[in-house]
């Protein structure tokens, strides 16, 4: 049963993607529904099993490692699979308004959307280094396909740049994998962990894989491709890119450093990664302060918020792990809400240039409200998921006496307040002239409500953190408090 449920998470969306390609007209809606709706059911059952077992491993098709591929579901991957499913469903609902499956642009959109969520699930389950490369390629290609689904010139340039860098990142990662395989004779991450030695070759392999993944994760200074790509993608695509696609690359860096090289004791490397994160927080926030378009501000905010995920390395410990994972979850929800709200402004008002959006709060109150609500979580104000995450991070940093990290977390919060209040101040300013909007249709209401729902979910994460934190704690590989 467990194996079937895991396979359902991966195969159902992928098969539905193929069906959405071949089915005619309205039947494509059926493929979309069949590809997405079973996912939360399967995952709910698996989460129950995980609660009992603590860890689920399945050798795919009965071939054990090192020959076969092992699927492994622990607390961390479970939380990310849940985020992926929520994003695929809710953001998918938003996309349904703009990309009806029976129209041409829906025909372009939905197969890639389904493929992306299936590939992401496969990546989160896989414990095989080479299989991780394959799924990472699938995720990247599907994401870039979605980026250009509207064939806008700006999005296309951003997509080509993203693709070149992503391919480069994959090659670095694969080179590292080749070295690991040469050393250990296995591709299973958890088998290799016991065998790979912290010698020159081991370190080289780790560095190569990390650099490749940092390109895909857009961690400063390798973030150059992200703002243009996330800022010019269609609304739902921006949301999934920021909420999930860059996160899975960071997730893999965590897997490599804490699981594969968990007992290597390389404090210089950990501090280095933390410093990159700190620079990302400061640089991304400062850039967000000077951008002129709402979507570009939100995109640079992603560059900054990704930096917090890297603070896990210097703060290394159970609480820091829970905090950064929780940040990953709540930022995913809040950022998706922000991108959807920004996309709604762009669609209905025809622009997202900050200067032209004065008084937008009177014309689209719900979307401006959503931006503010999601902002609460991004800022880390209580009560929100972002608050829990940043509070726990601060606590760990204080307990360890890491004043640099304390400062970075606080400055990052302050800068986030600055760039978000700058947007809200303009949106709520008295308008110069306020031409009437056409009456909003059902589709417009739906898109606004979906964005609001995601923002509320990010807030709700601030009220019920205990079960998620407990689930995450079961995945922590390095033992008790530091």
């Amino acid at each position: 049963m467990v194996a079937e449920a895991l396979a359902c998470l991966v195969l159902v969306p992928v098969v539905a993607a193929c069906l959405a390609l071949v089915l005619p007209g309205r039947w494509r809606w059926l493929a979309v529904a069949a590809g997405l709706l079973p996912l939360p059911l399967a995952m709910a059952w698996l989460t129950g099993e995980l609660g009992r077992e603590g860890l689920i491993t399945v050798a795919v098709a009965g071939f054990e490692a090192p020959l076969g591929i092992v699927w492994r579901l622990d607390g961390l991957s479970a939380v990310l699979v849940w985020l992926n499913i929520i994003i695929a469903l809710l953001v998918g609902l938003h996309a349904a308004a703009h990309y009806p499956a029976d129209k041409l642009n829906g025909f372009r959109f939905w197969p890639l959307w389904l493929l992306l969520s299936g590939a992401m699930n496969a990546l989160l389950l896989s414990a095989d280094l080479f299989n991780l490369f394959v799924t990472l390629e699938l995720v990247t290609l599907a994401a870039i396909g979605l980026l250009v689904v509207d064939r806008k010139p700006q999005a296309m340039r951003a997509a080509v740049r993203y693709l070149l860098l992503a391919l480069l990142g994959s090659l670095f990662y694969l080179l590292g994998v080749a070295l690991v395989y040469g050393q250990t004779g296995t591709l299973d991450l958890y088998q290799a962990a016991g065998v790979l030695q912290p010698d020159l070759l081991g370190h080289t392999a780790l560095v190569l894989m990390t650099v490749g993944l940092l390109v895909k994760a857009a961690i400063f200074p390798l973030h150059g491709w992200l703002p243009a790509a996330h800022g010019n993608a269609p609304g739902p695509v921006s949301a999934v890119l920021s909420a999930m696609v860059v996160k899975v690359a960071v997730y893999l860096v965590w897997r490599l450093w804490l699981w594969l090289a968990g007992d290597w004791a390389i404090p210089a490397g950990l501090t280095m990664l933390g410093l990159l994160g700190a620079l990302a927080i400061v640089y991304g926030s400062l850039q967000a302060l000077v951008q002129q378009r709402v979507k570009m501000i939100v995109a640079y905010s992603t560059v900054a918020q990704l930096g917090y995920l890297m603070l896990l390395f210097p703060l290394l410990g159970l609480v820091a792990f829970q905090a950064t994972s929780y940040h990953l979850l709540s930022h995913g929800l809040a950022k998706a809400a922000m991108f959807l709200a920004a996309a709604n402004l762009l669609t209905r008002l025809g622009t997202d240039q900050l200067g032209d959006l004065r008084g937008a709060d009177r014309r689209m109150p719900l979307d401006v409200f959503t931006l503010a609500l999601a902002g609460v979580s991004i800022l880390g104000l209580p009560p929100s998921g972002g608050f829990i995450a940043k509070w726990l991070m601060l606590q760990t940093a204080l307990a360890q006496g890491g004043w640099l990290w304390v400062g970075v977390i606080l400055v990052g919060g302050l800068l986030a307040a600055a760039y978000l209040f700058r947007v809200l101040a303009v949106l709520c300013a008295r308008p110069v002239a306020c031409p009437e909007l056409p009456v909003s249709g059902k589709a417009d209401q739906l898109t606004s409500l979906v964005a609001l729902g995601l923002a509320l979910a990010a807030l709700a994460a601030g009220f019920v953190p205990a079960p998620v934190l407990k689930l995450l704690a079961t995945a922590w590989p390095l033992g008790g408090a530091p």
Partner: protein, 103 residues
């Protein structure tokens, strides 16, 4: 595979050649070719290191390289299609460093 050092050096050379070309080339087709060359270097490393494990040829490594080649072909085909439609919509076959901020 009696002298793996030679093959590893060749792979390192190819990888460096590709990386250099990827950085300095402006034409997108040249950049894609550079990525292909880097890919070949990685596959060479995979084949050579796998030969080192127990002295005999390793079937898994061969299978990995085959899978890798298939993925590389798919990725490059996708990239070429993207570059073609970029050229059709914008009339340009290179990325201008100035247009990366999307303002």
């Amino acid at each position: 595979m009696n002298h793996p050092e030679i093959w590893m050096l060749a792979a390192a050379g190819l990888f460096g050649l590709g990386l250099y070309s990827l950085i300095i080339a402006r034409h997108l087709l040249r950049q894609l070719i550079a990525i292909k060359i880097m890919g070949s270097a990685v596959f060479l490393v995979l084949v050579v290191t796998a030969g080192l494990v127990d002295g005999s040829l390793d079937g898994i490594a061969q299978a990995l390289v085959l899978t890798g080649i298939v993925i590389a072909v798919a990725a490059i085909a996708f990239a070429l299609a993207l570059v073609v439609s970029l050229a059709e919509t914008t009339g340009s076959i290179s990325l201008n460093p100035d247009d990366d901020d999307g303002r």
